[in-house]
């Protein structure tokens, strides 16, 4: 589903990503971990077609980036730590706008479906600026799955959420992932990552320095693995 070969990303003379190799099969849920400044957000933005690679090959959902970006976008759902929602519009108006931009048929029905899935049906006519951070994040996920994407990218989705909101987000993420979608999520929260993901990759100093699966970990601590990977 996602193939990345020798990806390099430079900003001027500084190289943030230095030859990343990354491969994800359909249906995998990968947690991308790493220290601040490792380039996780940069990497995700490239996968999301929001940023161009300086060198290397990136393929998402069978299409090449950046040349075939438009085809990729219709199959991609992205949730970042910014809500990407318009505060002055209601929940359903926000979804309606994005639905139109994606050309979704049967939009009204789909909107209701999604609102129910994220548990915001009772607030559908309320303006988004009245929503709490947790609710905005759930609506953001709703926006991201509206067009039924094959691939989902989450960039630090738990940022700024309290315990309750985080638990709700867990539920939504599990539902989303259960549909056989391919998911890549970056996170600082190792406990949650351990709970949700099937595979764990460590991005450090611009390359994927370590990778393990849930099966391999076999109950031993992800935190230990993480620390060892960074120390090495």
């Amino acid at each position: 589903m996602i193939t990345v070969k020798k990806l390099v990303k430079r900003f001027g003379l500084k190289a943030i990503l230095r030859g990343v190799d990354f491969e994800v099969q359909t249906g995998e849920f990968v947690a991308l971990l790493g220290p601040n400044g490792a380039g996780k957000t940069t990497f995700l933005r490239i996968l999301a077609s929001l940023s161009r690679p300086s060198l290397g090959e990136v393929n998402v959902a069978g299409f090449r980036l950046p040349n075939e970006a438009a085809a990729v976008r219709s199959r991609l759902g992205v949730v970042s730590h910014l809500p990407l929602l318009y505060g002055d519009l209601s929940a359903e108006e926000n979804l309606r706008f994005y639905g139109r931009m994606y050309g979704i048929p049967g939009l009204e029905g789909r909107i209701s479906e999604v609102l129910e899935m994220v548990g915001l049906d009772h607030r559908r006519r309320d303006l988004v600026r009245t929503f709490s951070r947790g609710m905005q994040q759930r609506l953001a996920i709703g926006r991201a799955v509206l067009h039924d994407p094959d691939v989902m990218l989450f960039d630090e989705p738990y940022t700024g959420l309290d315990q309750d909101a985080s638990s709700m987000l867990d539920e939504v993420l599990k539902t989303v992932a259960a549909r056989g979608r391919t998911v890549v999520m970056t996170s600082h929260d190792l406990a949650r990552a351990e709970d949700l993901a099937t595979r764990f990759d460590i991005l450090s100093r611009g390359v994927i320095s370590a990778s393990t699966t849930r099966a391999e970990l076999q109950g031993s601590n992800l935190l230990t693995f993480y620390k060892e990977a960074l120390a090495g």
């Binding site: 900003f11 001027g12 003379l13 500084k14």
Partner: protein, 231 residues
């Protein structure tokens, strides 16, 4: 670190010589009947205007080339062209002012050419202010190119608009209408001085432009080395 190429060193010398020669020729050219000595400012005024215009056109071309090729060297060329052009438009404006005072008893004439030069100067300043607010070199180059392109198209339109519309902006500087205030015709000697000045300033432009590009390249190298040291 490479030292200055020989051609450039020679060009530096030639530029200085040519400047001295042009000054000599201008000072020794026949004095114009009506305006007197101050008319000689004209040679340099047009010379610098010509240089500035050259830089302006090049900057516009570099914009297009950069946007197509995305090669950062064209961005360096563009910055060099605009910097040189900025300085020379400024000199043009100042000389125009010096000429205007005794000729028409005013420091500023709102003549289409002078006014457009002032507007272009402001576009250049805006260009550098835009670049200053951006950290990412690629984005800086892209935005610079876009703005230089927009400005490059707008300034000529401004010139024509002023020329066509504003009746209080007569074309005063050597227009085809010989009756236009301040218009004058040139004798053969004056023509020689005039064309030599144009030639001289072209050489000066090339020299400064080349030097500035070299400066930009060296700055880049320093950045690269700095980065290597900190890693």
């Amino acid at each position: 670190m490479e030292s200055k190429p020989l051609t450039l060193k020679i060009l530096d010398v030639v530029a200085i010589l040519v400047l001295i020669a042009a000054t000599y020729m201008a000072l020794n050219a026949p004095t114009e009947r009506v305006m007197g000595e101050v008319q000689k400012v004209f040679y340099f005024h047009i010379g610098t205007a010509w240089t500035a215009l050259l830089g302006f056109i090049l900057a516009g071309l570099f914009s297009v080339v950069y946007l197509v090729t995305k090669d950062l060297k064209w961005d360096r060329y563009q910055v060099a062209a605009i910097e040189v052009s900025l300085v020379f438009f400024l000199i043009t404006i100042v000389l125009g002012s010096i000429w205007a005072r005794p000729a028409w008893n005013t420091w500023w004439t709102w003549d289409p050419r002078l006014t457009t030069a002032a507007v272009t100067e402001l576009i250049y300043v805006a260009y550098f202010m835009l670049r200053q607010g951006i950290d990412d070199p690629d984005r800086r180059a892209r935005f610079g190119a876009v703005y230089a392109l927009v400005g490059g198209l707008s300034a000529p339109i401004t010139f024509f608009a002023i020329r066509l519309f504003r009746t209080i902006h007569p074309v005063v500087i050597g227009g085809s209408n010989a009756e236009a205030e301040g218009g004058f015709s040139m004798s053969a000697d004056m023509r020689t001085a005039f064309f030599f000045a144009l030639f001289a300033f072209t050489i000066i432009f090339i020299d400064l432009f080349w030097n500035r590009i070299r400066l930009g390249d060296l700055q880049d190298k320093v950045e690269q080395l700095k980065l290597k040291v900190t890693m």
